[in-house]
């Protein structure tokens, strides 16, 4: 990785009417870096991407991308970046390969190169067999992957990926992540928004956590995890739990922060293991819950996210998936 900054953001702000969507963001991204932008729904991730990719004008602040000022040279910037938006919005009535060729035409890829590059990308993304299938007839995962491929057809220096794996099945998501690693190895700078913290942990060199339009913490995943390593995390799994009962832990236990992981497990964050166990097990007994296992946890990015934002990563993911389903 080189030390040259390819993205420098200074005081980037966006108002929609009186609503402050993005609040004076400042950060920089180095060449070849994979940078993760994490946050719950409505945190301002997509708005930030829309501003950095020239779709939406910032209300205040600016950014310098690959040496070009965002406000003055947005077309030059667009030529050098690729964007896969959150929605797979390629053309339903064009085939997978024709969509890629159309994008190559818009970006001014030389005529002789267009088909070759489109075919290369479809092979790389394991979609070559589907090259002549209409976009609307592709599966959701294939649409997503084709949308990412379309962002790469002009060989951009920076790729912006807005929730690239959202809604994909496990196999498709794993395949896409492996492709993102290959891109990183090729020296492409990646700006990635995601609500999958594990994805950010494994893919990103650095991560920014954004809540209500503001960056609350920025650093490598390891640096962020160290935020919580001062304390202790204990995971409790119950045999007969449910979300309603587990919510009582959140509300009623004092001095210990509780995160509900799923219907029968919680994570407790506190100063000392003994104190955490005493409080949680005492309450579990009162609630008639049977304990299946208790274990001490090494902090993950999820724990750091919880510590920094107070938001449960699981609830955040469920909200995101729920929103996607409603939109579909």
């Amino acid at each position: 990785m080189l030390n040259e900054n390819v993205i420098e953001v200074e005081g980037l702000t966006k108002y929609y009417g009186d609503v402050l969507a993005v609040d004076h963001l400042s950060f920089s991204i180095k060449k070849g870096e994979t940078f993760g932008f994490l946050g719950p729904n409505g945190a301002g991730k997509t708005t930030t991407i829309r501003m950095l990719t020239g779709i939406s004008k910032p209300s205040e602040g600016t950014a310098n991308i690959i040496g070009y000022d965002l406000l003055e040279h947005s077309l030059e910037i667009k030529r050098r970046i690729g964007v896969a938006p959150e929605e797979s919005n390629l053309y339903d009535d064009l085939t997978a390969i024709d969509n890629l060729i159309f994008m190559a035409q818009l970006y001014g890829v030389p005529r002789k190169e267009r088909v070759k590059r489109a075919e290369e990308l479809l092979k790389m993304f394991n979609l070559y067999e589907k090259r002549n299938t209409l976009f609307r007839k592709l599966s959701k995962g294939m649409k997503r992957i084709t949308t990412v491929a379309a962002a790469l057809v002009h060989r951009p220096e920076i790729v912006f990926l807005d929730e690239p794996t959202a809604g994909l099945d496990v196999v498709a998501a794993r395949g896409l992540r492996s492709l993102l690693r290959r891109l990183r190895d090729l020296g492409v700078t990646i700006f990635l928004t995601t609500h999958y913290l594990e994805e950010a942990d494994t893919l990103c060199d650095r991560v920014a956590i954004i809540v209500k339009g503001k960056i609350v913490k920025i650093g490598t995943p390891e640096e962020l995890k160290r935020v919580v390593s001062k304390g202790t995390i204990v995971e409790f799994i119950f045999k007969n739990g449910n979300e309603e009962i587990l919510r009582k832990f959140e509300k009623e236990i004092e001095g210990v922060k509780i995160a509900i992981m799923n219907g029968n497990s919680i994570r407790a964050y506190g100063e000392e293991t003994g104190d955490i166990c005493k409080k949680v097990l005492g309450m579990a007994e009162n609630l008639g819950l049977k304990v299946e296992s208790v274990k001490s946890i090494t902090p993950t990015l999820e724990d750091a996210f919880l510590e920094l934002t107070g938001l449960s990563p699981v609830v955040m993911a469920m909200e995101k998936e729920g929103r996607k389903k409603v939109e579909e």
């Binding site: 964007v83 919005n89 390629l90 962002a151």
Partner: protein
């Protein structure tokens, strides 16, 4: 400039492939003008020749605006227009590409109706004058269509909104009856409608004289002025959609 022209060219090609045969373009842009023309022909075949300029102008109006509703509103609704903005293209270039997408569809339809009418009725058009009138007419109608289509979210809303000026123009712009036969209080309205100058220009190229008594080239200038009147706010409104 070269980049913009390239993008306009490829966006139009893509729109021709993907949208020209969509149901709203077919029904309002092709079927309606054909049915309307046939209805008038069957009612009064002998006098139909006098209606031909109006039918050609009306076809250009309906086909351009119907195509705008599809290429612009449909893409706005499904988010594909934003996909275009991700490429090195300005909102102004996208607006123009959509405008010319409708223009081209209207041009093809108008040529088909003109050739059909000329063949059946033995008309001899002055081709340079005909094209001099048709091209600014299509530009004015495509601009009107694009301007109105940017203001709505759904294709059916666009078609409904477009029907307001379309139907007013059919009745006051000299398509069916000369403007001089209109009640006196409707005549000023006729002069505010681009279709009036389109019908009159095509009539001039067909019969050597118009109905409204204005200089042919002045009518062309008025049609171009209408185009700018719609292009500028339409382009601004499209940019605002993405703020």
């Amino acid at each position: 400039m070269k980049n913009s022209l390239r993008c306009i060219f490829y966006i139009i090609l893509k729109d021709m492939r993907t949208y020209y045969l969509k149901p709203p373009a077919l029904s309002w842009g092709i079927l309606f003008p054909i049915v309307w023309t046939l209805a008038f022909y069957l009612r009064h075949p002998q006098g139909f020749v006098q209606l031909v300029p109006g039918m050609i102008a009306m076809t250009s109006l309906f086909s351009t605006t119907a195509a705008e509703a599809v290429v612009l509103t449909f893409e706005l609704r499904v988010g594909s227009l934003e996909r275009l903005l991700l490429a090195p293209v300005t909102p102004g270039t996208i607006f123009l590409s959509k405008l010319f997408g409708g223009f081209l569809f209207g041009f093809l339809m108008s040529i088909v109706v003109t050739l059909g009418s000329a063949a059946v009725l033995g008309l001899h058009l002055n081709i340079p004058l005909y094209l001099s009138s048709l091209i600014p007419s299509l530009l004015a109608f495509a601009s009107l269509g694009a301007f109105l289509c940017v203001t709505v979210k759904e294709v059916f809303e666009a078609q409904t909104l477009l029907n307001i000026p379309r139907f007013i123009m059919i009745f006051v712009s000299g398509v069916i009856t000369p403007i001089s036969s209109l009640p006196y209080y409707l005549r000023p309205l006729a002069y505010l409608m681009p279709l009036t100058y389109s019908v009159d220009g095509i009539r001039y190229s067909t019969f050597g004289k118009g109905f409204i008594g204005l200089n042919f080239w002045l009518e062309i200038l008025i049609l171009l002025a209408f185009s700018f009147l719609f292009i500028i706010p339409g382009r601004i409104m499209l940019s605002r959609k993405f703020e």
